[in-house]
């Protein structure tokens, strides 16, 4: 079932565009695209941006994973939730916040980074650091502290113990997280366009230009193939990191976290300062904009206005009503995504050999141009498929959001599922347990934490989802991100101020969802 889902919504459209774009042309024409003006630069820029964005996310994310998951301290859960918020904020809002920081008179204006690659990298790290923190942190928290203690007892330095014991154990999670971030960064679009002022060009923006300005399907198809190569490389990286190290955790998930000691405190503090600089500075810029009113003063007017419908048709309902719409659709999307995630992850980990490809294919949509797939869908899905009628209106919104959330949710669940010792399941089965009973008594007990985490992430992603939603949501029932985009596309201090206030509301709502997920996860772990 998930295979059919991916085939219809990803593989078929992609193949169609490639076929149509490349029909009747030879490799000569393809090479001509790759050396046409701007394209070699775009290739280099893509690799550089993705590389730096990933490196930055790992450099900050790994220490953050340790400080937020391995050692325990008061208030930790709130910080975990805050770190997850940037990931789901709309690009237009984040870009405006970073734009304000890097503008000539901005807090970081002295750095002269406006419209530079460095500014884009900062924003990419801002968005993606939570992916590394989350994925690596969950894995780190579950590491058996025994081996590390043993290494230390045998005289290894703290660094050596980390390098030889901890790091190899974290490698699968780290590889998975880095691959996801690499794909996110390589296809990142809004951030590159806005913070680069359309001066910094990548493969993704080049595809957009070719399609949107020139309607050149051939160039788009050639560049789409380049992206596929990139996806394959990222997936290769992830499986290389995982080679031979699929962790078998026995039957019981360990809780390897420990209270922080006096020696940890300076390190935890250092991580917090780094996170604060990365996340709080743009957040403060955002908050300032949300409080600004006509003429340049500050007050809560914009927030009060969220409760009443605007006078003109900028929005048909109040922003608060839009936020409620978002909660309902995102909740349903999280349930759909959760179920699909379990199906895809099961097939990828335990299914027949061919089904293991599903794992990689599920990542594909992250790394292939949205514009290309969009075109493909336009060319393929304009009809009823195999008698399936997807055309009942309202359900399209949560369904679309679930598809968007699926790749990351799968990434979170797969490592946890791999960690379950297959011998346990075999033993249960040989003792006569039905498959359902095996699932209920074994898998569900061990996996409900990670499943809750995937679903929570899916919920948050669905809350912040813009693109898919903007096409399927009825104009009279906007979601919160749609309301924000709508407000920010009109002149006038009140529209813009309300737009930023609504973005703060979205950030707070997302933070609350992540906090709840955290609690759920810890409680579940506690009774295993």
């Amino acid at each position: 079932m998930p295979a059919a889902f991916l085939a219809v919504l990803f593989v078929w459209p992609l193949a169609t565009v490639l076929a149509r774009g490349l029909a009747g042309t030879g490799t000569g024409a393809a090479l001509a695209v790759l050396v046409s003006p701007g394209v070699p630069d775009a290739l280099v820029t893509t690799v550089v941006l993705a590389g730096l964005g990933t490196a930055g996310s790992v450099v900050i994310g790994v220490p953050a994973a340790w400080a937020l998951y391995r050692v325990g301290w008061a208030g930790q859960r709130v910080v975990r939730a805050i770190v997850a918020v940037p990931f789901v904020l709309p690009t237009v809002v984040v870009a405006a916040a970073f734009g304000a920081l890097f503008a000539r008179h901005g807090v970081l204006g002295w750095a002269g980074l406006d419209h530079s690659v460095a500014a884009i990298v900062c924003a990419l790290v801002f968005f993606n650091v939570s992916v590394v923190t989350r994925v690596v942190g969950s894995s780190w928290a579950a590491l058996d502290p025994g081996t590390q203690v043993a290494a230390r007892t045998l005289g290894a330095s703290r660094w050596r113990a980390f390098r030889t014991v901890t790091l190899p154990a974290l490698a699968p999670a780290l590889g998975a997280a880095a691959a996801v971030v690499l794909l996110f960064c390589s296809t990142s679009f809004g951030v590159v366009l806005v913070l680069g002022g359309a001066r910094v060009r990548t493969v993704e923006t080049e595809i957009y230009f070719q399609v949107n300005s020139f309607l050149d399907l051939h160039a788009a198809a050639v560049l789409g193939i380049v992206q596929l190569v990139f996806v394959a490389a990222a997936l290769g990286l992830a499986s290389w990191a995982r080679r031979g190290r699929d962790r078998v955790a026995g039957g019981r998930e360990l809780d390897g976290s420990r209270p922080s000691s006096a020696a940890d405190r300076p390190w935890v503090a250092a991580v917090l300062v780094a996170l604060a600089t990365l996340i709080v500075l743009p957040a403060v810029a955002l908050l300032e904009r949300s409080l600004r009113v006509a003429g340049g003063g500050h007050s809560l007017t914009n927030y009060l206005a969220l409760f009443s419908a605007p006078g003109t048709a900028v929005l048909p309902v109040s922003v608060v009503q839009a936020a409620l719409n978002s909660l309902v659709t995102a909740g349903i999307a999280a349930v759909i995504a959760g179920a699909l995630t379990v199906a895809v992850a099961s097939a990828a980990v335990r299914g027949p050999r061919w089904a293991r490809w599903l794992d990689g294919v599920a990542m594909g949509p992250l790394g292939v141009s949205a514009v290309v797939i969009g075109l493909g869908m336009l060319l393929t899905l304009n009809r009823e498929i195999a008698g399936v009628d997807l055309r009942t209106s309202w359900w399209l919104v949560p369904l679309a959001q679930a598809i968007v959330a699926l790749p990351l949710a799968v990434r979170i669940l797969v490592p946890a599922m791999r960690a379950i010792d297959p011998r346990l399941r075999a033993a249960a089965a040989s003792l006569g347990a039905s498959p359902w009973r095996v699932w209920r008594t074994l898998d569900w007990r061990l996996l409900r934490g990670p499943i809750a985490l995937s679903a929570g992430f899916a919920f948050a992603i669905a809350m912040g989802e813009f693109g898919a939603t903007s096409f399927v949501a009825r104009p009279d029932r906007p979601t919160l991100p749609l309301a924000i985009a709508r407000l920010l596309s009109r002149p006038g201090a009140q529209n813009v101020g309300m737009g930023f206030a609504a973005a703060v509301l979205l950030g707070v709502a997302t933070g609350a969802i992540m906090l709840t997920t955290e609690r759920l996860r810890t409680r579940v772990r506690a009774d295993v």
């Binding site: 789901v88 006509a294 048709a313 304009n382 399209l396 968007v404 903007s470």
Partner: protein
């Protein structure tokens, strides 16, 4: 937005599916494709539905440019019945590709619309227009004792170095309009003109919102640039305590006209034609300024009072013939990129 990875594909699929949902039933349901800035008050839609028995579904698959591209790519199996939002820089291409079926409305305002018609075609009906113009921050020029620039040539003067923010013609429709205005004004010398602007540190952003509310130094925004690309209709939104804080430079304007047309192969052509008539009705036309910040084509409706005061139109906007735009658009954008962002 963080849209762009998987979101848009799914999105478009869903649009398509959503579009179909109205098609299955008999005659009374019509799907209207629009650009993403479309806004009309509920009351106006409800009244239309009550008067005609037609149910309207609006679908917005992107800005004017991507709307046009999608119409072209799907012309064999159209996404809806009628499309609003193709403007004069894309009109010729859509007509040449045979996206639209001919229809001439007999609504009273059709006479007014006719003066904006695309020459040699009866496929598109003009609904509204607007002037894309540079706007300036009134206070900045008073405070700095600097004369407000008036013409394109003034912008090359050293005293205005680093004061202008515009948008990229490859990613933004006002950006394309502004490029067309300079081409209309400078003819073949436009490359040199833009090289001059680049030498005078013109800032180029990806979209209107980046230029307008991140860069604009007007009191409502507090950015770094007192000269920005926007619309003649923007200043009324920046009136503070009865005082205008911004104004448009009326010698730098390009007139943008937006059209509606019945799609070739529409499932409900008769209902689609009614939608075209409706967009020329007094109710719809009168709602345009407040909701979409554009001027109605109809001469029988009044624009809001503050528009007359703060948002005058350019007396002589620059224009380029749609067929010439269509023949050169891509080449111009490529050349512009070479000159300004090598």
């Amino acid at each position: 937005m963080r849209i762009t990875r998987i979101a848009i594909p799914t999105a478009i699929a869903m649009t398509v599916l959503a579009g179909c949902s109205t098609a299955a039933q008999s005659g009374a349901e019509v799907t209207v494709l629009t650009h993403d800035s479309f806004a009309v008050p509920d009351a106006v839609v409800t009244q239309f539905e009550k008067d005609t028995g037609i149910t309207v579904t609006f679908v917005a698959p992107g800005d004017a440019g991507s709307l046009t591209n999608k119409l072209i790519l799907t012309k064999d199996a159209p996404l809806g019945d009628v499309a609003y939002g193709v403007d004069n820089s894309f009109a010729s291409r859509a007509i040449a590709e045979g996206v639209f079926a001919d229809y001439t409305s007999s609504a009273p305002a059709a006479k007014d619309a006719a003066q904006y018609a695309v020459a040699g075609s009866a496929a598109l009906t003009a609904v509204d227009f607007s002037d894309v113009c540079l706007n300036y921050d009134v206070g900045y020029f008073t405070d700095h004792d600097l004369a407000v620039p008036q013409s394109f040539d003034d912008l090359l003067k050293p005293e205005y170095k680093g004061l202008l923010s515009v948008t990229n013609p490859a990613t933004s429709s006002p950006g394309l309009a502004f490029l067309l205005a300079t081409i209309a004004a400078k003819g073949d010398a436009w490359h040199d003109y833009w090289a001059g602007l680049a030498a005078n540190d013109v800032r180029v952003t990806a979209s209107w919102s980046d230029t307008y509310y991140t860069d604009f130094s007007a009191p409502n925004y507090g950015g770094d640039f007192p000269l920005v690309l926007s619309y003649a209709s923007s200043p009324p939104s920046e009136v503070i305590d009865g005082e205008p804080t911004t104004a448009a430079l009326l010698d730098t304007c390009f007139r943008q006209v937006e059209y509606v047309g019945v799609l070739e192969g529409a499932k409900h052509p008769a209902a689609a034609q009614k939608v075209v008539d409706w967009m020329l009705s007094d109710d719809f036309q009168a709602s345009l300024p407040e909701n979409m910040y554009v001027y109605p084509v109809s001469s029988s409706v009044k624009v809001p009072a503050d528009w007359a005061t703060y948002a005058p139109l350019s007396p002589s906007p620059w224009s380029v013939d749609p067929a010439t735009i269509d023949a050169n658009r891509e080449q111009w954008i490529r050349e512009w990129t070479q000159v300004v962002q090598p």
